[in-house]
Amino acid sequence: MSSLRLHSIHKSFGDHEVLRGIDLELEDHEVVCLIGASGSGKSTLLRCVNLLEPLDSGRIFLGDEEITRRGVDVNAVRRRIGIVFQAYNLFPHMTVLRNVTLAPRNVLKLSRQEAESRALDLLARFGLESRRDEYPDRLSGGQQQRVAIVRALAMRPQLMLLDEVTSALDPELVAEVLEVIRELAAGGMTMLIATHEMSFARDIANRVCFLDDGRILEQGPPNEILQHPRQPRTRQFLERIIEAGRL
């Protein structure tokens, strides 16, 4: 059964059309990586799926429910979709534990005990339990990003959106975050991932989509797209990535 279905998504900012008709379908437990140059629309697409950006046209289905229909409860939809941002966006005035328990307590109405035990389980799973009482600015970038992932997971989402979650990290901190995502994939989490880490995409993705100028130009199994791209634009993009030493 399909977990997420995007149908002809269009989105403009002013005169600039960022998304020019995106069609995409994710099966349950599928991991799809979006690759493409900066400005190709990857982040915008993820923000649209989480309803952080209103669409100009198109429809989005989560499971068999259309989440772009009129009068939909956006907060209820977002409960079911976790998103992690490039810049972590942890709440700086809250400890790690409160960052993670805020939404479960306020949105899911869990008791403090329930929310904390859920949070501590997740923090322990990702090696962060000793950081529970720290404020975000005392953590490394990698730790902050792992906390951000835990914060999203604490809502038990059926779909995770990851928006270039390693792009703001120092190179030596990238691995610990990718490890977390690998574990999520192994656990069967359905994920839509915008990334610049091609070798990671090759490892983890069931399918890679190349976005170019607001369209999915090419998609397929990672080996096919990354090693035998059919489109000249994809080839060009990958050559530049190889030059930069990222593949």
Partner: protein
Amino acid sequence: MASEGDRRADPEVERRSRLLGGLRLEGEGARGVAIALLSTAVFIAVVIVAVTQSAGWPEVRRTFFDWHDISSSFPDIARAFVLNVKIFLVCEVFILILALIVAVVRSLPGPVFFPLRALATIYVDLARGVPTILVIALLGFGAPALQLTGVPRSRVFWAGVGLILVYGGYVAEVYRAGIDSVHPSQEAAARSLGLTRFQALRSVILPQAIRRVIPPLLNDFIGLQKDTALVGTLGVVEAFNQSQIDTNATFTYGSYLAAAFLFVALTIPLARFTDWLIARDRRKRQAAGGFA
């Protein structure tokens, strides 16, 4: 020169100049302090000589600086000053609440809230545009004259309402600056977790916004403490009015000095507390390694 560069890099000198709160001492260590003390002493001496040599000084000294006048008027003024403190404390609570509501309303996005936003904007413009003394006179004399049932007719009450309305406008702008200073990604993060707009505001935006504007908020408190003296223009006996009464009885102005002393005694601790908070905030940010 090498020594110039060395001094700039010296963390101890940096720390000391920070402690002085921007009153940077040029020169180094003991020599710098000595120069500062000497120039201050010379400056004060010049001012004293200039004032005491002026033609009107003997008269000013008699009317303003008579110790007997100052000390004998002090108890009455101090008693009256209790009213200033009460007005200040009560008004402050309502100002903080009113201003927060206005600031939040002004920050509401979208066309639906346009009328509310416009109303809040008009209020802020009026509150900041009309002189405080006029607002107090209009409300203090006008509102009781309406003789509305169930509405207090006390002038102090209406003067307090006037202060709340005026300062509410200023403080609302301080809050709004704080709300605007919280990066939109914070709201996006909160909303992406399923929090409602109100929940995001309450748990994520406002706690950060208010923390950032505490120093300017305290600055407005200091202004309010002084402006409680305007209530005296309605004939209410508070510290300023009491000192005027004393002045009329003795034909000297020592009582004004007594009143001024009381106001300063109240505002200076708050001003130093504000400085301390700002310094602590800066230390925290530097400890975190950021300059945000």
